[in-house]
Amino acid sequence: MKTSGKSGFTLVELMAGMASAAILALVFGSVLVYGFRGWTRLRAEAAMQGDADVAMRTMDRIGRGASNATWSASTLTLVMTNGATQAFSKSGSNLLWGASTLIANRVGTFSCVVSNTTVDKTIVAVTLGLVEGTETLDMPYSIFLRN
């Protein structure tokens, strides 16, 4: 049999191969980018929700023993039934219980409204704004205190 002696790919084969490679790169590239974004968001959400959970549980545990509260200079002060005080304040991106106990470290905003609903009851309504990367989470928390 007579052959030309040339070996390799034809133009059609090359074009088909390049088109296939381009499609695969596009599809897998998109999936990878989407997956990375999802993973980043998942991590941020888990971190913020974990912070919110710890902060709210701590405030709740302390607040159940409180009889009154004040909000001043970005500090929530709970007055306990025995007269002692427990303070929660924002320092940088940290939410501190007392002078140095860290209960959340992704805090963007910490605001509070203290209102007396009756002569013997007080509502403390806190909004904790958490930030992680480009993700944000505003978490509401309320507790009522019997004076």
Partner: protein, 146 residues
């Protein structure tokens, strides 16, 4: 004789790999949706709990005044202006850019069939949130005169 794959074989392989990649993307989209729903549910739960705390902090007389006299039955969609700082007088609360309709319902419970001494009010707070159909957080508490 040439060896290697034919064009058809290559195209079939590409299609199979593309289908696998698209299935992976769909899985990731589902995971992303689950994270969003979980976030909304956590916020709805915190919101419902906040409403309950405000009910618990409300004077007994103010609660019973919401009920007709004689105090029987259930009142759905109890609305109180200024109730719950996130509501701003409305029953639609917007939290993290998500609208969450809140429903407060109260019912009087005549515990001893006459005297008001041991009677109480059952409060039900429902917060709907975007999620799979019927996504709802429902919390209840009992309020007494003591």
């Amino acid at each position: 004789m040439k060896s290697g794959s034919t064009l058809v074989e290559v195209l079939v392989s590409v299609i199979i790999l593309a289908v696998i990649a698209i299935a992976g993307a769909a899985y990731l989209a589902q995971a992303d949706s689950t994270v969003t729903i979980q976030r909304n549910r956590m916020c709805a739960l915190a919101l419902a709990n906040g409403y309950l705390e405000e009910w618990r902090g409300t004077a007994w007389g103010s609660v019973t005044n919401l009920l007709p006299n004689p105090r029987t039955g259930v009142i759905n969609n109890v609305k109180r202006t200024g109730f719950c700082k996130w509501a701003s007088g409305s029953t639609n609360v917007i939290l993290n850019g998500v609208t969450m309709p809140v429903t407060n319902a109260i019912s009087y419970i005549d515990a001893d069939g006459g005297s008001a001494s041991y009677d109480c009010v059952q409060v039900t707070v429902s917060v709907a949130y975007p999620g799979r159909s019927g996504a709802l957080v429902v919390l209840q508490t009992l309020l007494g005169s003591y």
